[in-house]
Symmetry: C2
């Protein structure tokens, strides 16, 4: 088993990564300073696959465990669902020492974390991510939220878990499309931070897509290390953390114009990363070889490198509404080599238009 | 003008206390590093009294100011009202650099703070408290929340304002009952922290009840200093901060059994403080003179020292449901002299029954 520490002073925590480690969850919880009540929040699909195993693992060491199911899908990551979960938390008698365990992907983790952050002004929170995306990204770093009808994650908090447990085993039941979408964020870590890791991904494409244990554990571990390093320096997204949005500026715009239906988040980010690489190339920051390597790795992981049937002007309009726009200026994260990025507003609207033109497949 | 600093590292902020200082609010906001958009959250009554003045003070220095009204009353401190406020925040286009100004008493401050804490994972927050209770207590220290049908403040956060502006002027329009209820928390500060302040209150009863400027500014300033000192040592209520709950254990039980209708919070706390003093006396911690001084000051401020027409057993049942109960044990804050308290679980049920018996007037 690998362990990554997220170093945040009194809010520090461990990410445990391994094969078939869900069974030890009870023992891991015993190591934390928490009370006897645990509420598992999950969705029906994940519950049918791993719900009993996780509940039993926690209950057998003496915790008083309840479960709450929420419907799967971004549209249920809402204040209405949050209200139901607060009712459940009250109903099962959670107190300030109790713990919420998020068992699922990003939707479950985000809303369960929001409940943990706000119930009684914050109770213990443990993440058991069951998708690649959640294991390498959303379960680490403390961003929790629900959606508002007018925008994703508009209502939320920074709230760190006490523990993250990423079991490679659960990835075997993922749909292939979901698996691949998660890999977009993994590629991102290579581009923004670690060219050796990028090279590792290039060399191990088949092992990764075949979910070979060693490759996956290395991939999840290194991704978490990079995210942990960034978050440790900038917990509340006041500076460095912005680099985690590499590929996300245009990615979010693509998600928005397609009402979050056409693309998985990772697919939109994949196209967004190609866009960012092209923009960097246009500005003379990045050479053509590095642009091609990004495109190729994205493509080899089965992710899209272009968009289809979308209006360029709609995408530009969506860009201007991005949460990250400050005083009307769009900031982009651009790589100047693989493994190194800068944050810049030094782009013309023409650069963006041209890039979108080239990407519209 | 007096200034009290709340010392919380990067989250430090100032409390400005003075007479007729609302007019300077725009200038104070300019000293903060905030964006151009401001949303004032207030209620219809406060709006009719001070809404225009505050809006103008902020707008005249160039901020883009909007206003949202919420109904007055604890029952509107709900997730439903929060939802309306999120809609408003989106509607007026608040971004991450925007500021929410809470103009009102505890209800307005608590819910406006909850919105500020959670909108876009936290935007700037400024408190302009308009009741004694809010000026000396609820606007300082970062507790923000909404109610759940099953419990007050069950959904919330610790979220510090960037600034608190307490204008003595606004207290002149308070109902007398509201004014007196706020003074209960002021007496509390004397008992838990500062016997000289307690003696000051004893000596200046008439000036305080007549709202004489010097006395009130001293009262608000010293109260804020004491609260700030406690909060600076224990921001998230993990230890020392519990002493702020002096009188609140039985106070909350009295509020709960009367559905938060019969007593103002401060009135329930007043009776709770008499109960705590009696308990301390029974346990041999406090002498009878100190017990009598507390009772007398509470009474001289026009606050109740006994309850009427309530079932003792109902109060005991409510006590056992208190948020602060840990593993079934009720902790009490008891004074061992005026100006000094301890936290103890060393009380028999008999002590509590007897005390409630004596208090049932």
């Amino acid at each position: 088993m690998e362990t990554v520490k997220v170093d945040l002073g009194v809010r520090s925590y461990q990410i445990k990564i391994g094969e078939d480690i869900l069974a030890n969850l009870g023992a891991y919880l015993q190591e934390l300073d928490i009370g006897s009540k645990v509420l598992i929040i999950t969705n029906p699909l994940v519950n049918s696959l791993y719900g009993s195993e996780v509940k039993e693992a926690i209950a057998k060491v003496g915790f008083d465990v309840s479960k709450a199911l929420i419907s799967d899908g971004e549209e249920y990551k809402s204040l209405e669902t949050a209200q139901d979960l607060y009712d459940k938390a009250v109903g099962v008698g959670l107190d300030r020492t109790s713990t919420i365990v998020a068992l699922g992907g990003g939707v479950v983790g985000d809303i369960a974390g929001f409940i943990a952050a706000s119930f009684m002004r914050g109770i213990n929170f443990v993440q058991v991510p069951t998708t690649v995306l959640a294991q390498v990204d959303s379960s680490v770093g403390g961003k929790v939220a629900v959606n508002h009808p007018q925008g994703k994650n508009l209502i939320g908090d920074f709230y760190q878990p006490k523990l993250v447990v990423a079991d490679k085993k659960v990835l075997s039941t993922l749909e292939e499309r979901e698996l691949k979408a998660g890999l977009a964020e993994v590629i991102k870590y290579g581009v923004i931070w670690d060219q050796q890791f990028f090279a590792f991904l290039e060399k191990r494409i088949d092992e990764i897509l075949n979910l070979e244990t060693d490759a996956i554990i290395k991939l999840v571990t290194r991704s978490c290390e990079i995210k942990a390093a960034v978050v440790a320096e900038d917990e509340k997204e006041e500076g460095l953390r912005a680099i985690l949005n590499y590929g996300h500026t245009i990615g979010h715009a693509l998600e928005a114009v397609t009402n979050y239906k056409k693309y998985r988040h990772g697919e939109a980010v994949a196209i967004g990363m190609v866009a960012a690489a092209k923009l960097a190339y246009k500005r003379g920051l990045l050479d053509s070889a590095a642009l091609e390597r990004q495109k190729e790795l994205i493509s080899n992981f089965g992710l899209p490198v272009a968009y289809h049937n979308l209006e360029k002007e709609q995408i530009i309009k969506a860009l201007s509404k991005d949460k990250k726009v400050k005083n009307g200026v769009i900031r982009f994260i651009l790589a100047n080599q693989i493994g190194k990025v800068i944050i810049t507003s030094d782009l013309t609207e023409e650069n963006i238009r041209e890039t979108l033109e080239e990407l519209g497949g």
